[in-house]
Symmetry: C2
Subunit: 337 residues, 2 copies
DNA sequence: CCTACAACTGGGACCGCTTCCAGTCCACGA
DNA sequence: TCGTGGACTGGAAGCGGTCCCAGTTGTAGG
């Protein structure tokens, strides 16, 4: 089909010339703009086909002042943390939504200082039309960077301490209450919790949810140890809890990974799950179905989170009025509670 | 510091004017090019600081014909598969390497037809300077798309059936041999394997490695069932194997996830690991340390894979001669074998 | 003192596309 | 018949840089 002739790619000028119209007319034809006669439009289309023409993205971006690219910045001190399937799920969601548009996705792992300065640079040099942020730590410098960029910015999750203008979050508070209430409904009263790291908005909300549920049921929070959202952290936390509160009969872990660690320690300690102690996690990762016993947990719609972030950003870029979103969580009952 | 004055961002013209030099001189000063007097250079630097000037990425791209962006395309029929931590690790590696340069990373999940056509479009409209591909399926249309783009392209892993001009791969063949030889060294002789899906280059190489090791040890491959690289697939495969070859005393699974599934089924079937049957996996995911028992597996340097892909691409874009790479794998001994 | 050469300098032509605007053409109603 | 408005048209001015090149300056060697 396309005569990918000898050298360079064909330009709009060549298309126009071949079609026997002006460059303006060709441009209009290509962009489905009005004021193009049927004849002209067809001539242009033919020329495009014959030449194998594709408009140059960069030139268009310069002229329209729109890059057609949005960035997703992930901020973490530890780049390894990106391996958490959470991020992959968000990305899948974002991509799915973006696929409906002409926008492409730029991924910035802004952990190191260097990564952050690259992000700053990207934002200030007009490299992107909008920004999505996965950085829920309290005083993350990325927050300031984003604010100064003057670009439409959507947060995934809310950093502890300030509420972004636009965000999409999962209902961590409600989910944690659901989990704790489930344990309470099972007749457990000595329920401990393995919290996430302080400074994370999600960890904070989940911990609050736990406490609220306990209090509302007339129980006092029985014990809390902070983990770091990892399997090992959950295991360590469970060990500490077992030591401090040997009578515990229920555990709410603020993440599946930590719950898995807790399960392991519980097994090693000879406690049966859910017989002696019932365990509920949070996240509903794929792995939750494969723990021993399969983990009862709170499902959070991570992929939907990504989709909604992208949707929100797209709308903002288009200049529409939009407000933030909180996505519902729900309990998934398996065998551990 | 920077007077982010009233309206728009300052342009090179304004910098030049304020510094009292021509636009050309200002440009040279900014790009560290020669033929700029010390005085001029300093004046420009001062003007830049005062104005808070940042060169416009798009304009520069148009003039230099270099976008400063490279794409990483991940091709899969199932978008869920992206949740595999493998991809995240590769991305971490790629990002780390890219951080040393001015290049940014565009992520394309090219699973659907729509995603693929977006990729095609991106490549043909001059949106990126180079391409990395994670698509090891045999007749993936993305292979053709990449070839037609006429861009520096680096594969991560080799698709079965053709050897890309440039690739970085892990030594799957050698790793599988290592694993199998380890089982043989343990005195196992009735060793079965859970292979990955046919069509994947990695699956193929790992299966070949298993067979080669068996043959070289004078053993005959004892049994093979194909999984799909997932935990569930591994479990199903193990069930079949147990049925067909109840006497098996060793299992080489072509992925950790499948090994985890196998472990589960083995436990359910009352076989002790490694007592009755020894199990070796492949990948060395973080989860491999947390299975029961902890999994002996083949470590593949996934992050390094990403780094080397990026390094290779960077060099190719710079016009250097480079050749493909195969990264070594090594056995990690834990308790399952 | 003149010439040659090197280091600077700025004008202006790109890069490829969008878009404003003045102008042309045509059919229509008065 | 003429005026009028709408649909079309193409010229040209951007968008914000890079970079070639001819021209200017300063200096050292003859």
């Amino acid at each position: 089909m396309a005569a990918q002739s000898p050298g360079r790619k064909p330009t709009l000028d060549e298309v126009a010339e071949r079609a026997g119209v002006s460059r303006s007319a060709a441009s209009r034809a290509i962009n489905q703009a009005p004021h193009v006669s049927r004849a002209a439009r067809e001539a242009v289309e033919r020329a495009i086909k014959e030449l194998g023409y594709r408009p140059n993205r960069t030139a268009r971006a310069l002229a329209t002042q729109q890059t057609g690219v949005v960035a997703l910045a992930v901020s973490h001190d530890d780049p390894e943390l990106f391996a958490d399937p959470f991020f992959a799920q968000v990305i899948v969601g974002v991509s799915a939504m973006l696929e409906e548009t002409d926008l492409h996705l730029l991924l910035c792992l802004a952990s190191s200082g260097r990564g952050r300065s690259r992000l700053t640079n990207l934002l200030h040099t007009g490299g992107v039309d909008g920004l999505m942020l996965l950085a829920t730590r309290k005083d993350d410098p990325v927050n300031r960077i984003a604010a100064q960029a003057g670009l439409p910015t959507v947060y995934g999750g809310r950093p502890l301490g300030f509420e972004p203008r636009w965000y999409v979050d999962c209902d961590n508070l409600g989910g944690a209450r659901l989990a704790t209430e489930h344990l309470i409904g099972l007749g457990r009263t000595r329920i401990v919790t393995i919290a996430g790291e302080t400074g994370s908005g999600a960890a904070d909300a989940r911990h609050r949810g736990y406490r609220e549920a306990m209090t509302m049921a007339g129980l006092t929070p029985y014990g809390m140890v902070e983990g770091d959202f990892t399997e090992a952290g959950g295991a360590a936390a469970m060990r500490t809890l077992l030591e401090r509160h040997p009578g515990a009969d229920g555990v709410f872990a603020a993440s599946d990974n930590m719950a898995a660690g807790a399960l392991r320690v519980l097994r090693e300690a000879g406690r049966s799950v859910p017989g002696d102690v019932a365990v509920v996690g949070f996240d509903d990762l794929a792995a939750a179905g494969h723990t021993d016993p399969p983990l009862t947990t709170v499902h959070q719609p991570v992929q939907a989170l990504g989709q909604e972030m992208a949707r929100l950003l797209i709308d903002l870029i288009a200049g529409q009025e939009r407000s933030s979103l909180i996505l519902p969580t729900r309990l998934v009952r398996r065998d551990s509670a």
